[in-house]
Symmetry: C2
Subunit: 441 residues, 2 copies
C-alpha cells in the first residue's frame, strides 16, 4: 500500500473524543484505513511503518478537513473593495459593476487566491457558485481540493433568449464537470435565488437537473426583502415555493436560511435539504440571525459557509465556527445554544453531508481529508478542551498540515500545490487592473 | 537623541489617510517625534539616520497600538474551561469556584500569558480588573506594556468587615500602583458592578477615589438581569444611579453598556464617561447587542475590550474590531452602521482616550505605542483598502512588530520581553494544578 501515516497527533473522533492515535491513509484510494492503536497491528494495511510516508503532527490536533459549503471563491479579488453597505445597493452599485468586468482569467486568478487561503486554513472542500466554472475547476484540479461547482443563474433583467442561455450554461457545466479531477469535482445546478430567476426558468432547470441527477444549490431566505415578494405574489413562503418547484430534495443545499418560519424548518427537515449558515455575511450585510439552534433541533443538516470574500472578508472557516457559536447564542437568547461541539460538527460532518462528499469524519473508510491544528501557541494555552479551542480560540493560521484525498496539500505551512508568491502577485495585479476597468467604464 | 526609526512602512494617520512615511521615535521620551517626509529634514530631531536603531516595516501597515480596554487578564488560565453557559450559572458554578482557588502565583502566570498574547497581537495597553494586582503590575512592568489596573470589589455575600476590607484593598491598590513602571501603570477604583457592590460601599469608595484623583471602572448594564433590580429598587436606571453616586465623570469608563436607554446614552455623553464595548463576550454569554452606533452618534467615547479569555476565548483585539463592526450592523439593522474606520478608531484612539493614555494616534508628540501589520498574506490580498483589512480580514498573527513607550516589545514576531516557551509551560502547569484543586475542593 502507498501509505501516509500521521504520527504524534491527537485525533478528534466522530463521537467527540480526542485520542492520541496515528492515522493511516491509503494514498491511492484517498481513504483513511485505520485510526489509533490498530494502525500498527493490522497486517492487511501496513506491515512496516518504516515504508510509510509520515506526517508529524507534533502533538497537534487532527481534525476532519473543514468544509466551506457556500462561497463565490473568485470574489477574493473584491476583498475590501466595498464594505459597510446594505445588500441591495452593495450589489447594484459596487459588486455587479465590478463582476461585469471580470474576465475568465480574473476568475482563475481569484479562485487560485481563494483556494490557497482555504488550504492554508484547513479547508479541504467547498461549494462555489460563480461564472467561468471551467477555470475554477482547473484550479481545483491543480490545487488538490474537493469542490461542488456550479454556474450561477440570474434571469431578472434578461430577455428570454439570454435567460435560457444562462440556465443552459448552468446545466451544461453541471453535466460536463461532474466527476472531474478524479472525482474531487462534483457539480450542482445553481439558480442564484428564487427571486432573481423567473419561475419558468426555475421549473425547467430544476426538472432537467433532476434528470441529470445533480443537486440544486441556491440562496434562500437571506433577507426579508427576498421573502416578502414571494409571499405577496404567491401566497406561500419561499421554502414551500422551492418544494413546489421540485427543488427541495435530500441532495439539495440552500445558502443562508436567515428568515425561516417554523413551517419552513419542518419542510427542510422532512425533505432532508441542508442549510448552509453564513454568519459573518449575515452580520456584515445586516441580513439577520438564522435560527440555527431550531434548525438543528428539527434535524436539519446545517453546514457553514464564508460566502464571498467581499462580504466576510476572508475565507477562514475557523472564523465561521466562532461566529456561528456566538451568533447562534444571541439568536436563541440562550448562552447554551449552538455549543462548541455543534459548530465543529457543522464545519466538518455537516459540510460534507450537505455537499454529498465522503469526508467530514476521521474514521476508517472515510475520505482522507483532514487538517492538523497546532495547539502550541499562547492563544491556545492552556488546553482544557481542544474542541472549545477549535470553536472559540483557534484561527486558520494555526493549521500546520492540510491533506485532501490522501495527498498532502500543505506541510508545515508550506502549500505544495500552489505557489503562494506567484498567486498573490497575479491576484494583486488582476485586482488593480479590474479597478481601473471599472473606473473607466 | 536615542532614536528608533521605522522604515518602509505605510502609516495610518489620525485623519484616516495611509501614507508611505518613516516614523521617528525618541526612545528616552517614549514619544513619536516625526512622521513622514519631515523625518529626514528636521535637524532638531535626527541629523543622521545611520545613527538610529531601525525597525523595518517591510511595506507593512504602521498602526497605533491596539487598546484592550476591559479584561481580566489572568483568566487566560480559564480559557476554554467552561463554555456555552449563561452568565449567572457560568459565574456561580464554574468561574467563581475556580477563581476561589487562584493563588497570587497563578495570577502572575495567567497575566504573563495574557500579556504575551496581547503583545503578539499588537495590543500595547489594557485595563485589568482582577485580584493580586501587585503581581499583575510586576508583569506589566517587565513586559513593557501600558495598563490601567484595579482590584475588583464584590461585597454581596460578605459581612461588613470583609466588604470594607475589599473596598479598602481596591483604593489602596489604586493609590499605591498609580504611576508605577515609569508611568506606564495607571490605576482605577474598580467596583465590580452596581448590583454586586452595596450602595454604602459604592458611595464611600467613589468619594475616596475622587479625593485620590483616580477614575472609576465597573461593569454597567451588561445584562437585563443586572438592570431590572436597580430599576425596581431605586426607580431609576443604572446610569442615573451611577451619576447619583458621583461615578459618572469624564475619566471614568464602564464596561459593556449593552442595555442602555436613550436617557442613559445622553447622560454618558454629557458626562464624558466612556463605554468599553465587548462584542464577543456579549454574544458568547447571550447578553445582547450594545447600541454602538447610537453611542457614537451621541458623542460617547467607545472603546473595545475582549473581556476575560473565559468568555471570548482569546485576547485578540483584531477579533473585537471585526465583531464590533458586524454586531454593530445587526444591532442597528443597517449594514452601513459601525463601519471599518469606526472600529479601528474605537480600538486605538477610543481606547487610549477611555483609559486616559497618551497613545492611540500616530503623530508627533503622541506616545510611541504602535504595531506593524504585515499585509503580505493571501488572506490580505489584494489591498483595496488597508483600513478595511484591519477591521475585517487581519488577525493578531499578522502583527510583525509591537512597540510601546518607544521600546520594541516584539520584533519579527519574536517577543523580546517575555519567554514564550517558559510562559506557556508555566501557564499550562498552573491551569492543570488549578483544575486538580477545584476538583478536590
Amino acid at each position: 500500500m502507498n501509505a501516509l501515516r500521521v504520527t504524534d497527533g491527537r485525533v478528534l473522533r466522530p463521537d467527540g473524543r480526542v485520542t492520541e492515535s496515528d492515522v493511516l491513509v491509503d494514498r491511492d484510494a484517498g481513504t483513511i484505513v485505520a485510526v489509533g492503536e490498530e494502525t500498527g497491528g493490522d497486517e492487511t494495511i501496513s506491515s512496516d511503518p518504516a515504508d510509510d510516508e509520515t506526517l508529524d503532527a507534533d502533538g497537534g490536533l487532527v481534525i476532519p478537513g473543514l468544509v466551506n459549503a457556500h462561497t463565490h471563491v473568485a470574489m477574493t479579488l473584491l476583498r475590501g473593495y466595498a464594505d459597510d453597505k446594505p445588500l441591495d445597493p452593495w450589489l447594484r452599485e459596487d459588486i455587479w459593476p465590478a463582476e461585469a468586468e471580470l474576465t475568465p482569467d480574473d476568475i482563475e486568478v481569484g479562485a487560485e487566491l481563494g483556494v490557497l487561503e482555504m488550504i492554508r486554513s484547513g479547508t479541504t472542500a467547498f461549494a462555489d457558485m460563480y461564472f467561468a466554472m471551467d477555470r475554477v475547476a482547473d484550479v481545483v484540479d491543480r490545487a488538490g481540493v474537493r469542490a461542488r461547482l456550479g454556474h450561477g443563474v440570474v434571469t431578472v433583467g434578461k430577455d428570454d433568449a439570454d435567460a435560457r442561455a444562462d440556465v443552459e450554461e448552468s446545466l451544461a457545466v453541471a453535466k460536463e464537470l461532474d466527476g472531474a479531477a478524479n472525482g474531487r469535482i462534483r457539480t450542482a445546478f445553481m439558480p442564484h435565488s428564487l427571486t432573481t430567476v423567473g419561475e419558468e426558468y426555475l421549473r425547467e432547470g430544476v426538472a432537467e437537473a433532476r434528470e441529470a441527477d445533480v443537486p440544486v444549490h441556491l440562496h434562500a431566505n437571506e433577507t426579508t426583502d427576498e421573502v416578502a415578494p414571494i409571499v405577496d405574489e404567491r401566497g406561500e413562503r419561499p421554502i414551500a415555493y422551492a418544494e413546489d418547484l421540485g427543488a427541495l430534495g435530500p441532495d439539495d443545499f440552500f445558502a443562508h436560511g436567515v428568515h425561516l418560519d417554523g413551517s419552513e424548518i419542518d419542510r427542510l427537515a422532512d425533505a432532508g435539504t441542508a442549510i448552509v449558515h453564513c454568519p459573518a455575511s449575515n452580520m456584515k450585510l445586516a441580513s439577520g440571525m438564522a435560527p440555527v439552534q431550531r434548525l438543528r433541533e428539527a434535524g436539519v443538516t446545517v453546514a457553514l459557509g464564508t460566502d464571498g470574500a467581499a462580504s466576510n472578508n476572508d475565507l477562514d472557516v475557523f472564523d465561521e465556527m466562532r461566529d456561528a457559536a456566538m451568533l447562534g447564542k444571541l439568536a436563541a437568547d440562550d448562552a447554551s445554544a449552538v455549543p462548541a461541539e455543534a459548530v465543529v460538527e457543522m464545519a466538518t460532518a455537516g459540510g460534507a453531508d450537505a455537499l454529498g462528499f465522503p469526508g467530514g469524519r476521521i474514521e476508517p473508510g472515510a475520505a482522507a481529508d483532514f487538517a492538523v491544528v497546532d495547539l502550541d501557541a499562547p492563544h491556545l494555552t492552556p488546553v482544557h478542551d481542544p474542541v472549545s479551542h477549535l470553536a472559540y480560540a483557534a484561527r486558520g493560521s494555526d493549521v500546520r498540515h492540510t491533506v485532501c484525498d490522501g495527498e498532502v496539500l500543505m506541510r508545515d505551512r508550506e502549500v505544495l500545490t500552489l505557489d503562494v508568491d506567484a498567486v498573490r502577485e497575479r491576484a494583486a495585479d488582476a485586482a488593480s487592473d479590474l479597478v481601473d476597468r471599472v473606473t473607466e467604464s
